[in-house]
């Protein structure tokens, strides 16, 4: 058949000459390659001790954010659950009582907020949908676990640590040291 692409190459299989049939030169060639790899830098990252840095736009575990005064930003509008293509998010909303203004930013808040990490596909549509900038996929990857029920993360795992003056000072100190 005529070649249409002009990229056809006819491979010529010559019988091996004596040097090639001796086999030993080929062995030595191979051994040179393996010994070169022996002294190469290893690609392994010894995981628990050394962690590979995440890329900047890595989408990992979700976190529910707080505002500058340490109040939860989420208002339980349900847009994240609506936008979620994997149906991973569910929540129960509640009305903010008097005296809870320091806890919740809006008048309505999520009493229960659950993400099923086995369903989640980490697409990031929830953080795009959120009008309150309350949810971000800025955590590390979701750790392994034994039971399916333990992959349903509630507010205890999702909500950001409460803003703490001491922590802030420590962070500042760290920055100074670095």
């Amino acid at each position: 058949m005529e070649s249409l692409s002009n990229r056809k190459k006819v491979l010529e299989q010559k019988p091996m000459n004596f040097w090639e049939r001796m086999y030993l030169p080929a062995i030595i060639k191979g051994m040179r390659i393996t010994i070169r790899h022996f002294f190469k830098k290893k690609a392994t990252v010894s995981y628990p001790e050394v962690e590979r840095p995440y890329s900047k736009n890595y989408r990992g575990m979700h976190s529910l954010k707080r505002d500058e005064e340490g109040r939860e930003r989420c208002t339980a509008c349900g847009l994240c659950a609506l936008s979620c293509p994997a149906e991973a998010i569910s929540m129960i909303s509640a009305e903010r009582k008097k005296g809870e203004e320091h806890l919740y930013r809006e008048e309505k808040y999520a009493a229960v907020y659950e993400i099923n990490m086995l369903r989640c596909i980490f697409c990031g549509l929830c953080e795009e949908a959120c009008p309150k900038e309350a949810i971000y996929l800025d955590g590390p990857h979701v750790p392994a676990d034994y039971l399916r029920k333990d992959f349903i993360y509630g507010k205890n795992k999702l909500v950001e640590e409460r803003f703490d003056v001491n922590l802030l000072e420590m962070a500042n100190l760290k920055q100074e040291i670095n």
Binding site: I27, M31, T34, I35
Partner: protein, 345 residues
């Protein structure tokens, strides 16, 4: 026989035995480390620093595994298989001279367990027995894969023993003695090493040693990809451990034999010009000997992670059509050169 002599030999045997076992143990780790390094990995490094406790962990695991003897197996032979394999592996190191004499007080201690004047023949005989362990184990398992592995082991070791023996004959024509102790003693210094006289014989010997140890590229008896596990498919627990262990001991012993026959054993360059006392030369010699052995063990592993396995017909072709004619040619060549040398020099 005097008591001191018996005690001396007993201590020497114990030391050699323990050393052999420890080196075999750590060969398993070294193998995996070398494999890892050659594949750009780290190898096992979880058990202890750099994984140095890995052999202990492996051994412990072997002991706690359930021991299964298949229903259709021939029970006594099934047990005899690994027993023979490990015994022959352990006793083959008896004739290797580990060093010269140590003088303690007025006693002169030979660093060799048994100096028999047919040392090489002894090593050959014991290695030839070793294949019985594999054959019995493979046959007694009552498993087709095991039997295939055993048959391959038998035919392979018979084919390669011939070439190995022939390559040794050329060496013996040069050395004029069968005692390993004398052969090593002849190679003092660096220029007297037999490798300079018998390079072709050495290559043939190394190739056959690989085949005798069932090492890659001649590991057809136990190839995982075709025969599940070859002759030890049905073995579990410490019996499997013994097979593995005997393989590594064989590797150690054949490294020792190779360095004793061709690389001067305990001899090292400039040993007579340093002006050291006899004891010091002996001690350095022992270290040099072990260095050579370790280099050979590394060479074994290096080859293993470089070459793929031979096909069965390629193995037989290499053995019968290439190595044996080459070995015979080597004998003839050696004979001619020796004759010319004796007549004209």
């Amino acid at each position: 026989m005097e008591t001191a002599f018996i005690i001396e030999k007993f201590v020497l045997i114990t030391i050699v035995f323990v050393l052999t076992l420890v080196i075999a143990m750590y060969s398993t780790l070294a193998e995996r480390k070398v494999a890892g390094f050659m594949q750009d990995r780290n190898g096992p490094d979880r058990a202890g620093p750099f994984g140095i406790l890995q052999p202990l962990a492996d051994g412990g695991k072997f002991f706690f595994k359930e021991e299964i003897i298949p229903a259709g197996a021939h029970k006594s032979l099934f047990i005899a298989g690994p027993t023979i394999a490990i015994i022959t592996a352990c006793i083959s190191s008896a004739v290797i001279p580990w060093g010269q004499q140590l003088t303690i007080g007025d006693r002169v201690i030979d660093l060799q367990v048994a100096d028999i004047n047919v040392g090489i023949l002894y090593v050959f005989g014991v290695i030839a027995l070793g294949v019985y362990g594999i054959m019995l184990g493979g046959w007694a398992s009552n498993n087709k894969f095991s039997l295939m592995g055993a048959i391959r082991a038998a035919s392979q070791s018979i084919s390669y023993e011939i070439a190995m023996g022939l390559s040794i004959i050329a060496l013996l024509m040069v050395t004029q003695t069968l005692s390993i102790k004398d052969i090593v003693a002849q190679q003092s210094g660096f220029v007297n090493w037999n490798i300079w006289v018998q390079p072709l014989g050495f290559i043939i010997f190394v190739t056959c040693a690989f085949a005798e140890c069932n090492r890659v590229p001649f590991d057809l008896p136990e190839c995982e990809t075709e025969l599940v596990g070859g002759y030890h498919t049905e073995y579990s627990s410490m019996k499997l451990g013994l097979y593995m262990f005997s393989e590594y001991i064989n590797m150690f012993v054949s490294s020792a034999v190779m360095s004793a026959l061709y690389f001067g054993g305990y001899n090292f360059p400039f040993m007579n010009d340093l002006g050291l006392s006899q004891n010091w030369i002996t001690i350095i010699g022992v270290l040099a000997f072990f260095l050579k052995i370790f280099a050979f063990i590394f060479f074994f592993m290096w080859i293993r992670w470089t070459l793929p396995r031979f096909r069965y017909d390629q193995l037989m072709n290499l053995g019968w059509k290439i190595l044996i004619p080459l070995a015979i040619a080597n004998i003839v060549l050696t004979g001619i050169i020796t004759l010319i040398k004796d007549t004209y020099w």
